[in-house]
């Protein structure tokens, strides 16, 4: 990125805050996994925390928040195809003719 040095020095504090937030997030997931919310909700919570952490990394460390449109486009398609791969494969596993036995 072609940002000026002054600009960057202002970001540095932000990076440290994000780093701290990530560490806190890590502790949070571990803690959350010890409370029994019912299996499903534990999964949902863990994934929410992970996604939040991942967004922090992507947005601030990887500067996605101020990236160019072209890169958003690439990532948008990737996200879509990734979602398609997941959803359709898993969908196919839950849609068999009646009385089909798997395993």
């Amino acid at each position: 990125m072609s940002e000026s040095p002054e600009h960057v020095s202002r970001h540095v504090r932000g990076y440290l805050i994000v780093g701290a937030a990530l560490l806190i997030g890590t502790v949070l997931t571990v803690w959350a996994s010890y409370i029994d919310l019912g299996h499903q909700w534990n999964i949902v919570l863990a994934l929410i925390i992970a996604s939040a952490k991942a967004s922090l990394v992507a947005l601030f460390f990887m500067h996605l928040i101020s990236e160019r449109q072209m890169i958003y486009l690439v990532l948008g398609f990737t996200a879509f195809f990734f979602a398609g791969l997941m959803a359709l494969t898993i969908g196919a596993y839950h849609d068999f003719p009646p009385f089909t036995v798997t395993r």
Binding site: M70, L73, F77, T78, F81, G84, L85, L88, T89, G91, A92, Y93, D95, F96, P97, T100, T102, R103
Partner: protein
């Protein structure tokens, strides 16, 4: 994306191009980073593999027509090199299966993709967008080297004990895992290299097209060929990694004893297999076809790009519906990621998912129809020049038409019940890849040969090659539709003899004598096809030295940028700065003196540079 004309900084390259770098033989031809040299390396390697893949299928076709009889001439040779699997010069079922799997693999991953995408793309794309080279020359070199290593691994696997992979190019687990030989391991490792090569290539192509377009070369001024390569690169970039993941998992199943694709209770031979179980054979199929389907558009899109270039050049008029073509190519690219399970209808698919995939399959046929329509309509009002490349490009249209149309009955789950895994499928996709893509590639070779060498290929022998190929291709593949409809299955080492009326006279619905007879016609068709390739190969090499030299940089009087530089282009491609002023296909512009206006010709009124 920006469609406005942009004024970017002038290329430093233009100046640099003049300084001659003397780098010696190795750096120049073997470890070259010049996109043109790499393109040629790719082309030569890929052509050799195409010929090899053709050789495999010739032997198979002979064996199909004469099951249990030794192959004349080549049989003893096979026995000498491969040993027991070709005892007495007869192909054993193991050998048949491994030739079949390798024919598919070689043709697709080592032949057509490297030729259509990597070779033509490497040579032509930077020239057509007015760039000095690819964005990452060293990555480009690495891409070729990974391809070569992958190819060598695949080739070597024929000679290891037990021979090459035998589970089809689709390598379905558990079969691929339980065959006790090591061919599949080689196949998987080879694939990892080929996938790496394609990924590196794809990154490079996309970055090049985004970043290195010459000043004035806006998105809607890109030649259609560049668009086709752009979409293709995205398909490779995003569809290949799941296959890479799957390959790693299958490799683990094979070498580490895991059960990714092996279910509980697998009993190969009498006993329960000594594995943990718990895996899923269908997972492999999903991951394979997630690549497999986009892959077939990787085979066809560059071909469509080549055909569009050649048709517009030889009709001397702009392509009809340039924007529709571009949007259709993008739509194909996008949709090709969500149709894959139409290869899996008969694995036990419920109504919801089947409806989804049938619908997307039907939708994706529409942009193909649009592309073909545009190409057909481009002919109207033209002044058609029937040179060799044009003949091949024109023949592409109905041939792809047959292949594409026969995809429709396969695309409906219910009609696929009858046609799945029969020769109808074989005929369907060979019409798209053989008289389709291969013809487009031939067309491209005749078209760009003068660019590469400064000499023309011989027209007469080119036409012999064309008419022979057209006739024999149809003799080979047309009967397969009849065989498939009649229920002949694919991957039959005996050509279906065990399912014929002769072997099971009491049964209803077996293959008739007439259907079995067709094997003989196909065999002779294939022999004819092989023979008419000889003039092509000779023509290719002969013209290198003795072809008629071109009279100008632009022998076909084309508008696109690759013709605005001497043949072959110097290091750095252009000897003057290139600026683009107009769309790619300004042919026969009313009021213009010549019937073509190159993209970089300054508009009238502006002073010549």
């Amino acid at each position: 994306m920006n469609t406005q004309a942009t004024q970017t900084m002038p290329h430093a390259a233009a100046v640099a191009a003049v300084e001659h770098e003397d780098v010696g033989f190795w750096r120049k031809y073997i470890f070259s980073t010049d996109h043109k040299v790499i393109g040629i390396q790719y082309a030569i390697t890929a052509l050799v593999f195409l010929l090899f893949g053709f050789g495999l299928i010739m032997m198979m076709r002979w064996q199909i027509a004469h099951p249990g009889q030794p192959i004349p001439v080549i049989g003893p040779l096979l026995e000498a090199t491969l040993g027991q699997v070709a005892a007495k010069g007869i192909m054993s079922p193991d050998l048949y299966n491994s030739f079949g799997a390798m024919h598919g693999t070689i043709m697709i991953f080592l032949g057509v993709v490297p030729l259509a995408f990597a070779a033509f793309g490497n040579y032509v794309v930077p020239l057509q967008i007015g760039a000095v080279d690819m964005a990452f020359p060293r990555v480009n070199m690495a891409s070729y080297q990974a391809y070569l290593i992958g190819g060598i691994i695949m080739f070597v696997s024929f000679f290891i004990p037990g021979g090459a992979a035998q589970a089809g190019w689709t390598s379905y687990s558990p079969l691929a895992t339980v065959i006790p030989t090591h061919g599949q391991t080689f196949w998987l490792i080879g694939m990892v290299f080929l996938i790496t090569s394609s990924l590196l290539g794809a990154v490079n192509f996309i970055a090049t097209i985004i970043q290195l377009r010459a000043p004035g070369m806006t998105w809607m001024r890109l030649p259609f060929f560049v668009w086709a390569q752009f979409v293709t690169a995205f398909l490779l970039l995003l569809a290949f990694p799941p296959l890479e993941a799957a390959a790693i998992m299958q490799l683990a199943d094979k070498l580490l004893g895991t059960s990714f694709f092996l279910p509980t209770g697998l009993a190969v031979g009498g006993q329960l297999a000594n594995i943990s179980g718990g895996g899923s054979p269908l997972l492999w199929q999903h991951l394979f076809w997630f690549l497999g389907h986009p892959e077939v558009y990787v085979l066809i899109l560059p071909a469509m790009g080549i055909v569009a270039e050649i048709i517009t050049n030889n009709t001397r008029k702009p392509i009809w519906g340039y924007k529709s073509l571009v949007y259709s190519a993008l739509a194909i690219g996008f949709l090709s990621f969500i149709v894959w399970a139409h290869h899996m209808y008969l694995t036990g698919m419920g109504t919801k998912i089947a409806t989804f995939f049938q619908t997307t399959t039907m939708i994706i046929s529409i942009p193909s129809v649009i592309i073909l329509t545009c190409l057909f309509l481009s002919l109207w009002g033209g002044s058609i020049r029937f040179n060799t490349q044009m003949l091949f490009a024109l023949a592409f249209l109905p041939m792809f038409g047959i292949g594409g149309l026969t995809g429709l009955p396969l695309g409906f789950a219910a009609s696929d019940i009858h046609l799945h895994d029969t020769y109808y499928v074989i005929a369907h996709f060979h019409y798209v890849v053989a008289p389709g893509t291969i013809f487009a590639l031939f067309a491209g070779i005749y078209h760009w040969f003068p660019k590469l060498t400064g000499r023309m290929m011989n027209e007469f022998w080119g036409k012999v090659h064309f008419w022979g190929s057209l006739i024999f291709m149809n003799i080979v593949f047309q009967p397969m539709f009849a065989q498939g409809m009649a229920g002949m299955l694919r991957r039959m080492a005996d050509g279906g003899a065990n399912y014929s009326a002769a072997v099971a006279p009491e049964a209803i619905g077996t293959l008739s004598h007439w259907i079995m007879q067709l094997h003989t016609y196909i065999l002779w068709g294939a022999v004819g096809l092989a023979l008419v390739q000889i003039p092509f190969i000779i023509n290719l090499f002969w013209s290198l030295k003795h072809g008629q030299p071109v009279k100008s940089d632009n022998p076909w009087q084309a508008t696109t940028l690759e013709w605005q530089t001497p043949p072959p282009p110097p290091h750095g491609n252009f000897d003057k700065p290139i600026t683009v002023y107009r769309g790619p296909y300004e042919y026969s512009v009313p009021g213009h003196a010549t019937d073509f206006t190159p993209q970089n010709e300054p508009p009238r009124g502006k002073a010549e540079s």
